[in-house]
């Protein structure tokens, strides 16, 4: 038995695929969602896990979530911060609400998981945290500043926490997915020209990303890294 794992944003997309991939490797998975109870419960039923609802932008809620998961399933060995949302908007239309929500859910969702799970993992001298960023953090993207800024900030956070947590044998890494075929990949990205510009000439599948995420979570000598499975969209 590989132990317990937590995936935020586990009801859909890459998070959902990650929950399945973790379960296939023997983890008992806590599937966190917000407002997607039916989907989360379906995932949990499929994989012998448990669905939980928590708003990742609220650190107290995430702390309660982690306490509940560890009471139910035991110590969390792997935590994947995948919850996020995406809105395309030009700079002049960015509102304080959108800005703070983007930071709160995307960056906040990552730092709150670290804050809740990290100290517990450090006390046990083991554990692995993966934050899901975006290849757009590496490239930049127009009409996308709140999302890209938050995804980019996650990288500075994780690089720092990797140094803080290293002596306690807790690993923290970032995955920057390229364009992956989920509901979050909007029409804007689905044109033929863009697809053909990808060296591997296709989008990623959620399963491909999930495999990378679980691999990165399990690689024992990897910390503070940014790994980007992206079909060649970013080569540098």
């Amino acid at each position: 038995m590989a132990g317990a794992a937590l995936v935020t944003g586990g009801a859909s997309g890459i998070g959902r695929a990650t929950a399945y991939a973790l379960a296939a490797r023997g983890y008992q998975v806590a599937v966190d969602h917000l407002g997607r109870e039916a989907e989360a419960k379906q995932v949990a039923t499929d994989i012998g896990g448990v669905a939980y609802e928590a708003d990742v932008s609220d650190v107290a809620a995430v702390d309660e979530l982690v306490a509940a998961v560890e009471a139910d399933l035991g110590p969390i060995e792997i935590a994947v911060a995948c919850a996020g949302f995406d809105v395309d908007v030009p700079l002049e239309q960015v509102t304080p609400e959108l800005w703070h929500n983007s930071l709160g859910v995307i960056l906040g969702g990552c730092v709150n998981v670290i804050a809740a799970v990290g100290p517990r993992m450090r006390a046990r001298q083991r554990g692995s945290i993966v934050g899901i960023s975006s290849e757009l953090a590496l490239l930049g993207d127009e009409d996308h500043v709140p999302y890209v800024t938050a995804k980019s900030a996650m990288i500075g956070l994780v690089r720092s926490v990797a140094r803080e947590y290293g002596p306690d044998q807790v690993r923290v890494n970032i995955i920057c997915p390229g364009p992956t075929d989920t509901e979050m990949l909007t029409e804007r990205w689905r044109g033929e020209d863009y697809r053909h510009s990808i060296p591997l000439d296709r989008f990623g599948t959620p399963e491909e990303l999930a495999r990378a995420i679980v691999d990165v979570a399990e690689w024992t000598w990897l910390t503070g890294q940014v790994i980007s499975p992206n079909g060649g969209v970013v080569i540098q």
Partner: protein
């Protein structure tokens, strides 16, 4: 016409002076307690928290200088804080000052910058690139600035260039606070930092300022992050 934020600090003050020497007319802004800044044509005391405050600063610059061609987002806080449930309120402080203020300032400045040969220079940090234990909020804010730089470089092109600089350990009064955090004397801190720098010396504020002046005239630079760190981290 240039606007420099955080203009009363070690690096900000030197940027203002260098820009003025290079022929720029500079508006300097910092918190109300800051004294006048040498080389600034106009000094605007302001707390940059909140969109309204940032818009007001840009408006004041336009009223007093008539146009804006360069925005230097330099104002920053660097808070000692680890990400824990108990300290998360404090953790967000660096994000508010170092990341949110540059966003609102750039949003307010975009239209006047577009009218001129506009550009934005964001002061990031080596911390964004290599991580900074004990300063994850600072590193996150400075890394977020890079995503913002790249995105706005694409979005605001070709009228507006957006670049970043990433200084390493620079000889300013911030080092006194660093020394305190590390629990060492200043001389020992110098030794610790320069041990990791092939040049064997701290970066000088004037060198950072010269880089800002250079980027201000470098037409083929956009979306770039230029490091200046004595070799502590290599591109």
């Amino acid at each position: 016409m240039a606007l420099v934020t955080g203009a009363a600090g070690g690096i900000g003050r030197t940027i203002v002076a260098a820009l003025a020497k290079a022929g720029w007319t500079v508006a300097a802004t910092d918190l109300a307690e800051a004294a006048d800044v040498t080389g600034a044509e106009v000094t605007i005391p302001a707390d940059l928290r909140g969109r309204d405050a940032c818009t007001a600063v840009v408006d004041a610059v336009l009223v007093q200088l008539g146009r804006l061609d360069l925005l230097v987002n330099n104002a920053a806080t660097m808070t000692v804080v680890e990400p824990t449930v108990e300290t998360m309120g404090l953790w967000w402080r660096d994000i508010d000052v170092n990341l949110t203020a540059p966003l609102w300032l750039t949003q307010a400045a975009a239209a006047p910058l577009r009218d001129g040969a506009g550009q934005v220079i964001n002061v990031s940090s080596i911390s964004a690139l290599r991580g900074e234990p004990g300063f994850s909020a600072y590193a996150a804010s400075k890394a977020g600035l890079l995503g913002m730089t790249r995105s706005l470089a694409r979005e605001l092109a070709p009228a507006i260039r957006v670049n970043a600089i990433a200084p390493g350990p620079t000889e300013t009064e911030q080092l006194n606070r660093d020394a305190e955090f590390q629990g060492v004397g200043l001389a020992e801190l110098h030794r610790l930092y320069t041990a990791g720098m092939p040049t064997g010396r701290l970066v000088q504020p004037a060198e950072v300022a010269d880089l800002v002046v250079f980027l201000a005239g470098a037409k083929s630079f956009t979306g770039e992050c230029v490091q200046i760190n004595g070799g502590m981290l290599m591109s």
